[in-house]
Symmetry: C2
Subunit: 350 residues, 2 copies
Amino acid sequence: MMAAVTAPLAGERVLLETALRDAIPRTGLVRHYETVADYPRRGGKRMRPMLCLAACRLYGGASADALPAAVALELFHNAFLVHDDVEDDSTRRRGLPTMHKALGTARAINVGDALSALAVVSVAKGVRCWPAEVAGAVSIEFAHLLQRTTEGQATELAWIAEDHYDLDDGDYLALVREKTCWYSTVHPLRIGALIGSRGRADIDRLNDFGFYLGAVFQIHDDIENLQAGPDYDKDALGDILEGKRTLPLLHLLRTASPSDRSLALRVIGPHGSGAPAERTATVRELMDRYGSIEYARHFVDALSGLALAEFRRLFNSFPASEALEFLFTLVTDLGKRTRRYSRPARVVPA
Amino acid sequence: MMAAVTAPLAGERVLLETALRDAIPRTGLVRHYETVADYPRRGGKRMRPMLCLAACRLYGGASADALPAAVALELFHNAFLVHDDVEDDSTRRRGLPTMHKALGTARAINVGDALSALAVVSVAKGVRCWPAEVAGAVSIEFAHLLQRTTEGQATELAWIAEDHYDLDDGDYLALVREKTCWYSTVHPLRIGALIGSRGRADIDRLNDFGFYLGAVFQIHDDIENLQAGPDYDKDALGDILEGKRTLPLLHLLRTASPSDRSLALRVIGPHGSGAPAERTATVRELMDRYGSIEYARHFVDALSGLALAEFRRLFNSFPASEALEFLFTLVTDLGKRTRRYSRPARVVPA
């Protein structure tokens, strides 16, 4: 649908790509910065920076004002990806080997730190330009974003390290809020609105919308990992082997017969036993039998509805604009995303 | 000597320890933050934050103004230590197991990221309080600090990964400037002076002093690792096994006979062959034979002299103060530090 017409904020997308490229040095330590540019160059949806630019426009700002923050959001995101891939020992990212598989753990850790450093450089450039009140508030937003994301990551890694599976949907949503929503949706919206309104917008009003949007995004990611088609560009079914507590997995563990539950617990996670392909096939079969993916799909429908309702509540009185259309398209497209995967899944061994 | 009288800036030290403790949350994710607090609690000289507080006082500021920056410097330092220990696969830090040996690589990476996040929180608190000009300038200083440190780390890791040993003292000093001096001495001084003078000091004048001081500090560290006594609290001789290009090692490779050079190259670094204790003993014996440690000691004497000369040039016209005394003591104590190790070394196997 989006391909048929000029996508909303197409101009911002060009601005962003240029600024992102310019944020990574091309002189000096050329080989180092080639590796630093690797993940950002692999593409991606740029959802986080685009949310920030859209919010800035919606609240009356010029896109250029929010560009340093948008670039920083994308660089931090890529920093998290590099470190996450080491932490999960993933093998593929956007169709290519993960950083640590290509360069080794030591250099991958440093590449992640270098991406964070360049993100901080971009924020600092903003701090020099934004009005003092805005600069202080945006600094606090970024600090909160980093703190919460590492807290979420700490919780998930502790669950995995300690084989903790006694979790309900509330635990899952609390985790997703920490590890995904703050940095992916809530703060991008808040930061954009802060800059666009020069500190006058009531940005707390955006939190629920951001949370629903981020949760929809994460659950889709979880479902996609389970139902990966041939064009999937990460480790298909990797979440099962890494021990990720996804909504379908928690549903399975909650609803399965005692013997099926024991079977699942035996094969999932980094301490699971058996050949990887067999382990993932076992869990996928159980999930099909218990309707766990279908459950997650219904769950995501409900969250999409909540996101749409929040969108209306927040922006009903806003005049039509490209930024508003961008946001609306994002909300409705995300809502429709699982439909693409609703056919019975072909299980692809990792 | 320092123990006989009240150390200069003893009050600042107390302020700093309190602020550092308060910068790490004690509620919420209690277990996570226990691991985050681990390295900072292990102690250390607090050289970086104390340099910042001293510079702030010297340039007319109150210590409290620089406290958020000082805390951030110590937290970033600890973040680097956690990640460095993973990258070097070190086993001991301040007398205890390194973070990744205790918690595994995945969680150690995240603990490092969490320490960085808390550092960013501390900077953001400062940005809200400092005058706008100072806030912008300090943000840029921290950004530069992070970028340069990861660049230095990238260079060293590339040398190690690629078995690159064809390096001279100039390469060594350039590396030390990047990986150590910016974050350990140059930026702490610059940031303190910026805050203390409310942006009026010519902070570029501090660069050479900071560089000499940081290089002295790093070369001492390298020598200590080679001549570790029984109270040494890191991996004694670990630098040899990790393939660190230290000044004594480069001297050895430059001056040794072709056969001794080949012998050294065979056993040093992560790709070296043989039992660790034998490898380190071989290199230490060669260093003794070629006077490599003695060479480094003379080198450090020269740098200490340069640091002292810069100290005089910079601060000759400053009135006597506790902050000036602190700096002078630091410069002269650092200069004397190798003397403690000047007896023929006892080789301690790793």
